[in-house]
Subunit: 223 residues, 2 copies
């Protein structure tokens, strides 16, 4: 009896994951508001009532979709930094991998959270709150890496971590935006060069040996 129950639960969880995968894909291009239970049911050849069993409301579905996108973001952007040394190498990896994540098209509509933030910033409620929370998480991940680099004497102490995190995030968002709107791939190189130049300028002698050279990035991107 217990085994049968567990098997049913596992099956339910697999269905839920399959639904969320499709939901993330739709929302990434058409927005979280385009994500209706009817639309999703048609796409997955499931009944509406079957979908309702997994997600009680459109808002529940939107929230679960945002968290599914967050799990993908963690896998694609945060995980790879675990291999980088703490401090400046980790900070640069965060920046570099973030740009690659948009460029590779992990989400079809570019950065999932940039799109969700733009869509929900004027719509108060749990979805907006969750998106804002995830963006704060990201900014504080950047800030922590900056502080680590300062404590390791790799980055100048007079740099305001919140200011630098704002600048890095803005340049990344700018690249995402230029790519989504104008298909401008050069924007990734622009953002990369600008962030690297900023980090080089702020780094100590020790720190600058831990960063790729600006010329190196330029050559790498031209290939």
């Amino acid at each position: 009896m217990k085994a049968a129950k567990n098997a049913a639960r596992a099956r339910g969880e697999r269905t839920r994951q399959a639904i969320l995968k499709t939901a993330v894909d739709i929302a990434s291009v058409e927005g979280l508001e385009g994500l209706t239970i009817g639309r999703l049911a048609a796409k997955l050849s499931l009944s509406k009532s079957g979908l309702f069993a997994h997600f009680g409301s459109k808002e529940d579905l939107q929230l679960a979709t945002v968290d599914a996108a967050r799990a993908i973001f963690i896998r694609e952007v945060i995980r790879p930094t675990f291999e980088a040394a703490r401090g400046l190498p980790c900070l640069w990896t965060l920046c570099d991998v973030w740009l690659a994540y948009v460029q590779r098209g992990v989400f079809r509509g570019g950065c999932f959270f940039a799109a969700a933030a733009a869509e929900f910033d004027s719509r108060p409620g749990p979805v907006r709150d969750r998106v804002a929370e995830i963006m704060r998480e990201w900014l504080s991940t950047l800030r922590r890496a900056i502080v680590d680099a300062q404590q390791a004497l790799q980055l100048a102490n007079d740099i305001d971590p919140a200011q630098l995190a704002f600048e890095i995030n803005s340049l990344e968002m700018g690249a995402n935006w230029a790519f989504q709107l104008h298909g401008d791939k050069q924007a990734f190189k622009r953002a990369r060069d600008s962030i690297l130049e900023r980090l080089q300028r702020g780094s100590t002698e020790l720190g600058s040996t831990l960063l790729p050279s600006l010329k190196g990035t330029r050559n790498r991107k031209k290939r």
Copy 2:
């Protein structure tokens, strides 16, 4: 007869302008997709058929709304720069006034075009094309001001105008985004400081006398 026709035409034009004013307001908060003829008719207490006489389709209405927003942007951001001297003062005024335009809430949902770009970047068609065109106009306005400043020997010649325009635009978008999502007013100061620091660093001796000092901005914003 002719006078009566002209009066009718003027009346029609006034109605059209009133409709577009409301349309810009709705679209600024809820997006251009939220802009249905039915919704707008209800808000303005006009008949749907009356609205159809002015705008044949939802897409025509969206396009007219985008252009009405562009006219507001020109009045609020481009016009004030006519009073600034050519070159670096004009460039700095463009940056400064743009940030003020978002901070003052000219559009209720922040920068109209940032929101429209995020909404339409995955939806090919005339609306997306028009928004992309307006954003290119803005980037080339920034680029032209940078080139002017270089020709006036105010800004170093080795600065790539497209790169600097990308950086300025990204920092502005970053401020807009932080304010819309987190209500973070400090983001305007962050963007202002970062842009001014970048311009100071790139400017010639002549150029740097034409910019406010970084300290000045900091004090001004603290008040």
